[in-house]
Symmetry: C2
Subunit: 173 residues, 2 copies
Amino acid sequence: MRGITYLLGAVVALTVVVVYKAHPSEHSDGEVAPIFGVKIPPGYRDWRLISVAHEEGKLNDLRAILGNDIAIKAYREGKLPFPDGAIIARLAWSYIPSEENNKVFGRAQSFVAGPATNVQFMVKDSTKYASTGGWGFAQFNDGKPADEALHNTCFACHVPVKTRDFVFTHYAR
Amino acid sequence: MRGITYLLGAVVALTVVVVYKAHPSEHSDGEVAPIFGVKIPPGYRDWRLISVAHEEGKLNDLRAILGNDIAIKAYREGKLPFPDGAIIARLAWSYIPSEENNKVFGRAQSFVAGPATNVQFMVKDSTKYASTGGWGFAQFNDGKPADEALHNTCFACHVPVKTRDFVFTHYAR
């Protein structure tokens, strides 16, 4: 009986670890974005890194592209199209110079992430989103969904990379 | 007895999941970096994101700063100094323009991660590394440790941020 108790304890402990890792999102508030009906996926800030980027111009941001487990697996295996359930998150922050870092380097060369600008998601569901390449798109500004006009632009913008299942970002090895 | 077998099965299954998640590093080859004796931590490419940055000048890279579970927890709780066992990884890739993205944006504004340049680690062990603020430092170029001369520069460079336990990067919210 004591053996079973220990085993049960181990199962509970391991389950708690797995569940805890899946739900510590700091931003999820349940609001649904227009057109595609996408919500902020719980725990996305804990997802693994696909790559990083910098956009100049009006965007002027530093960005990280993260993937849920299904997306990361597909990326690493070079599997296209992405399977249903894959979600790709694009986080972006203002592009700001770091005076602190520049002092250390002895020249103005260092740029870091300032306040968050917005977060975007691509959610793969080949049935639900059949008319947009199998992807649902969403953008949230400070936790609130962007408007419908913006969401109308998402798919058209991704069409040039149709051969990579409409996904721009390459996995950074 | 069947109950115990099921429980054992569950423990093994969950343990496999946990262990599998901890060891898919693509770069670990066991070589030890000079001075601090740091190895590439298994599975670091799966760690969670702390922040992103861009360095101009000679470095000319895009970088992601990742943390193991202990480091991420300390960051999120604003806990300083970092506890023993915390490891911070700085991955960097060449900073290259994306012609593909620029076409979509209609102007040259998009920069993405090219080939990896090097990876650096800070490993917290307040006893072992007492003379360098409790941190061991390491840089690996293409999986191989950088030379001793380079490792001699690490700690001095981090002294300006002594009040933040010698860590430059802020957590990107």
